[in-house]
């Protein structure tokens, strides 16, 4: 493959033809801040935070949409670049609710990160601010358009990952906002609540309703695991706080990347549902009574053993489970064959 060599912050970088300056810098370990860029989505060049100085070029081009060429000399942190980035952050903060104290994304917000990084303490521009009602008429996603920075990642995720095109930009200028058709809510649209827009939102405009209202971002421990629903085998992170699963977030899954469906992302509530069985039950006179494990296991062993003894192994049957792990299915097969002595074992593979 043809390659080009350019200089970024004094460092020689060689990349394949067609690589953007942003990608080239990242490959070389040089940091450039971005808000609207996402490696899985088409380049946008909208937020301008990734501007760099390139010798011989007029103005400051956005590195995410500028193709690296041979001999290019790039400065990613020159005074002009830093000044431009500060101004962009100030402009964004000029119309941003400064409510980080209570925001569910506090600690996981790119705008916050960059304001900190560039020392922007407050908006340098006083002016009109939005006052949109917060949309929370569905059980999955909260949309707070007051916090939206119009990076368009959700628009592209919906179109390019989910293929639904539920949201897009509407209105003009200061009034521009991201909305489903006819300015309805997500609940009033074709939205399937995959939450893939939430996963790419760099700020607090799109938040998981359950997760962000039950834990601060730094309070959760993330445990990588495999989804318990369909056979696709998506990987995600269970978010755990104080011994409870409080949410699910995307990681870079081998099968699914960051994409999840509504069940995977928002269907975890059953784990702590009050209906969960917490103690063994033994039915006496038609009514379930709580029992100890010793009693319950003893009774199971005694009754299965008695049937085996009286009627033979063929009078016993086992249903294993497509919901349980491989190890558990293996042990159930071993139990049926080696302990009960029967091949009467099956599960719901046909259903």
């Amino acid at each position: 493959m043809a390659e080009v060599t350019l200089t970024i912050d004094g460092k020689q970088v060689t990349v394949p033809v067609g690589t953007t300056v942003l990608e080239a810098a990242r490959q070389a370990g040089i940091f450039i801040p971005t808000l609207c860029h996402d490696p899985d989505l088409t380049p946008w060049g909208g937020c301008r935070l990734c501007v760099v100085e390139i010798e011989g070029m007029r103005n400051l081009p956005a590195s995410c949409v500028t193709t690296a060429t041979s001999g290019m000399v790039v400065h990613t942190a020159s005074p002009a670049v830093v000044e431009a980035r500060k101004t962009i952050i100030e402009l964004l903060l000029a119309n941003h609710p400064m409510d980080c104290l209570t925001c569910g994304k506090n600690g996981d917000c790119r705008l916050q990160d960059y304001a900190y990084m560039y020392g922007v303490r407050q908006a340098g521009f006083a002016g009109e601010r939005h006052s949109y009602p917060i949309e929370d008429d569905n059980p999955f996603i909260v949309r707070d358009l007051n916090k939206c920075i119009l990076c368009g990642k959700c628009v592209r995720a919906c179109a390019e990952i989910q293929g639904k095109n539920v949201v897009d930009f509407a209105y003009r200028g200061f009034n521009t906002r991201v909305t489903p058709a006819m300015d309805s809510t997500l609940a009033g649209s074709d939205c399937v609540f995959c939450g893939n827009c939430v996963a790419v939102c760099p700020v607090g405009a799109l938040q998981e309703k359950g997760l962000r209202s039950s834990a601060r971002t730094w309070e959760v421990k993330k445990v990588r695991t495999t989804c318990p629903y369909c056979g696709t085998g998506c990987t995600f992170d269970l978010n755990v706080k104080d011994g409870r699963v409080v949410g699910v977030t995307s990681c870079d899954g081998e099968v699914n990347g960051r994409a999840l469906c509504v069940k995977g992302r928002f269907g975890y509530g059953f784990i702590h549902h009050p209906d969960r069985l917490t103690r063994p039950l033994i039915k006496r006179n038609g009514i379930f009574e709580e029992a100890t494990w010793e009693e319950a296991i003893g009774l199971v062993a005694e009754r299965l053993g008695a049937i085996k003894k009286e009627y033979g192994s063929g009078a016993l049957g086992v249903l294993s489970s497509a919901r349980c792990t491989n190890e558990e299915n293996y042990l159930m097969s071993k139990f049926a064959r080696a302990v009960l002595g029967t091949n009467n074992i099956d599960h719901c593979a046909r259903l």
């Binding site: 569905n138 999955f140 989910q162 293929g163 359950g210 695991t225 495999t226 318990p228 629903y229 056979g231 696709t232 269970l238 469906c261 509504v262 069940k263 928002f266 269907g267 975890y268 509530g269 059953f270 784990i271 702590h272 209906d275 969960r276 069985l277 063994p280 039915k283 379930f288 494990w293 319950a296 199971v300 009754r303 299965l304 063929g314 009078a315 016993l316 086992v318 249903l319 294993s320 489970s321 919901r323 349980c324 792990t325 491989n326 190890e327 558990e328 299915n329 293996y330 042990l331 159930m332 097969s333 139990f335 302990v339 091949n343 009467n344 099956d346 599960h347 719901c348 593979a349 046909r350």
Partner: protein, 527 residues
Amino acid sequence: MTNPIGDIGGADFILAIGTNTTESHPIIGLQVKKAVRNGATLVVVDPRRTEVAGLAHYHLRLKSGTDIALLNGLANVIISEDLVNKEFVDTRTEGFEALKETVARYTPEYVEQITGISADIIREVARGYATAKNATILYTMGLTQHVCGTHNVFAVANLAMLCGHIGKPHSGVNPLRGQNNVQGACDMGALPNVLTGYQSVTLEEVRSKFAEAWGVGELPATPGLTVGEMLEAAARGEIKGMYIMGENPVLSDPDADHVIHALEKLDFLVVQDIFLTETARLADVVLPAASFAEKDGTFTNTERRVQRVRKAIEPVGEAKPDWQIICLVATAMGYPMQYGSPAEIMEEIARLTPSYGGISYQRLENGSLVWPCPAPDHPGTPILHAGKFARGLGKFHPVEYVPPAEQPDEEYPLILNTGRRHFHYHTGTMTLRTGALEEYYGREHLEINPADARALGIADGERVRVVSRRGQVEVTARVVDTVPPGVVFTSFHFPDVAINRLTNPARDPVARIPELKVCAVRVEKIA
């Protein structure tokens, strides 16, 4: 699947049969959408106009249960128009002449009479599939839950072999499996005829290998009973005791009233689950199990990809992981069974199972492995049948069309089709208890075509009674043309619309899969 999920996005032609992909497998649906965006031709075969059918270039709305006729018709065109991949058929397959003879009768015009799909469309689709660079076939239960389910799959395989669309990237025969670990449960020998890795119980050397490893004298040599057969045997009083782990046959199996009758007849029933399911309510003893979040283990997905499940929290209450419970019961029955961790169990599985031979928790920490993975240094096998089929030559199995076991008649004039909804899963045990999914989609409905609704005087939103020869349910009608005239559809997720009270337990003679996609019903307005 013969190929990875990620391959689908790069296919040039997708033939999706009986799969509501974007609802039942949303993330696989994304790959289908990606392929379509990249210019692939999508053909969806389904009586219903699902979301994925709406994306299709060709939506073949065939009459329910006529898949073999359609697939044979496609093969007929491919052979008669000389579109066969001759090199593949000559070098990789056997039995072509027999197939040719069988499908000769299935001319597009004849198939049109059976399926309702026009002969011209059959020709176009056949040409598209045969001439595509890479064509993939996706299917799910819409193809398999028929009395001819096994033959339906043979007909699919015949098509792939005719055109050589197998054993290479972006192609293959790809069943999309519906449950997180249904592939793994099969791999682990939770089936009546095989031990792990599909090693047959009828083979002496297999049994003696396992008997030795498990420290028992001998293992049972005759294949056992399938779910349906076990329940029938229970109803006859031949099965006296059952141990059910994490399954809810009262809602998931056909002819539910008969299932309940069978389970009630048992002398002893123990159910191990995370909730007191409809099945658990019938038990003598209920053992509380840990959920996926509370234990370590592995799941094997529809691609044969073995992936880690990791414990995030302690089991709720006194619940225990299923593997520990099984060990306790076995030990109490006089067979000491003890493991320090699921990793140890996997070591034993790997020793006894050639296709899992190279799989260990240590390796899985660095990423998943796709079986067959016979050795610790084997990278896994994402694409099956490359260069050679597992059995050597790929065998064409000629199959004939047979109609569904139950046909509509005067008393039961409509066909009931069942399946899944996007927001729910299987018998709703989990998804009706999330605080979110059931809030958004909390009540089930029956989809009925406007023509049928008009004839029955049913308006959208009215309560109706759906009745089959086996049972009935009441449900709210939704009048939509996503179902064709003569067909009604609902899901099996909701206990208050226990639709499997109606479904037909007629089964495929080979795989013993019930015909859940077709049964005859009538719909009555509730006065």
